[in-house]
Symmetry: C2
Subunit: 224 residues, 2 copies
């Protein structure tokens, strides 16, 4: 899995033109890209439909045409965030690795793609401010469960079979531990830097934090 192949939404370059070309998919995607950025930067309540519209190549009317409401637009952005994260995690490949190597690989790849999608991390954080009430309305919610949980379960099972891993935690616990570290680094970045004068996303610290995460999970699982 190559993190660089999963880019943040980038609004396409504006092409000034007087003619009106109809392209429903492009218009819809343009709105969704802009909205994702705007919601992740301003939050759900703080983002403005007028502002989103102004940053697209179309008008506010089309937002309602395609998405019906501000909430639906936000929900569409949120669903896409989850789907993209899940799609990338489906490509986690730990085949042929021992349990120790596999868990470290998985932790590091999780770290990588969290880092590649700060907008999506922030969207999840914002959705928690709203008590997950929007995602609760998503018809795709049942499919959002993390496929990496199955991979994790298999690694844990394998590690225990070899007498290497502790057996008082489940795959979801380990997933939580890894996610907490990766999410915190993005989600709490600004206050952390303001108070401690250390930007956790500064490239100078990247390798250190990446290793720290792998060590943390591995040391925990292999402790006696």
């Amino acid at each position: 899995m190559d993190p660089s192949s999963f880019d943040e939404p980038q609004p396409e370059a504006v092409t000034p033109t007087a003619e009106r070309v109809r392209d429903a998919d492009r218009t819809r995607a343009d709105i969704l890209d802009v909205a994702t950025t705007e919601f992740s930067e301003q939050g759900y309540a703080g983002a403005r439909v007028d502002e989103i519209a102004a940053k697209t190549r179309t008008t506010k009317r089309m937002i309602y045409y395609y998405f019906q409401s501000k909430e639906n637009l936000y929900l569409a952005a949120l669903e896409r965030a989850y789907e993209m994260i899940r799609a990338s995690e489906r490509e986690v490949d730990v085949q042929g690795l021992g349990p120790r190597e596999a868990i470290r690989r998985l932790a590091e790849l999780t770290f990588d793609h969290h880092e590649s999608h700060p907008h999506f991390i922030r969207l999840v954080t914002i959705e928690n401010i709203h008590g997950a009430k929007h995602i609760a309305k998503s018809e795709s919610l049942p499919g959002l469960a993390d496929p990496v949980l199955e991979v994790l379960s298999e690694i844990l099972r394998s590690g225990r079979a070899e007498g290497e891993f502790r057996d008082d935690v489940d795959a979801l616990d380990v997933h939580m531990m890894i996610s907490a570290f990766c999410v915190f680094r993005t989600a709490n970045r600004h206050t952390f830097k303001a108070i401690f004068d250390r930007d956790m996303l500064d490239p100078r610290y990247r390798a250190h934090y990446r290793t720290m995460l792998g060590d943390m999970v591995l040391d925990y699982l292999t402790a006696r």
Copy 2:
């Protein structure tokens, strides 16, 4: 340190009365309590000054009288959140404990008071959505650095002197690791439950997560 002595802000019982009793401190505190709850539940952009006023025993005018603006009110709530967390951490007592016991104690006490102050955790999260731009205006910002960092440094130094702890991480790294776990449990609670059907704040899991945190930090620091 007793977690139950640090309560969340609770608006005082309403006393219906036609007379107008002046008590500036009480009015100010009432506003701040209500605002803290409202901002932590709705976010900065989502909270409404009218709504905050309606939930106090006074009128919107007094919010502007005492706090001048919505932003100043939010900032006052935020500063108070930090000060309360810091005050409680100043009472962390690990005197007389060996490094291993001290680190576990500290991790667990951090866990406890994060759990006791969900509103404050959420306020910090919300402030990160806004890029820490409000707290940057706080005149008390220089005093918000975490006093527990000094305690942590001393524990690490002691653990290394006894040849028990690794030496490739600093006190801030360990603080980050502990905070990530404790913050995630509150800040991401809702989406986590929606997707994985596990409420991380459910009392049934409390002991498990508390032990998990202590083990995680200790196993990491003592790993060879």
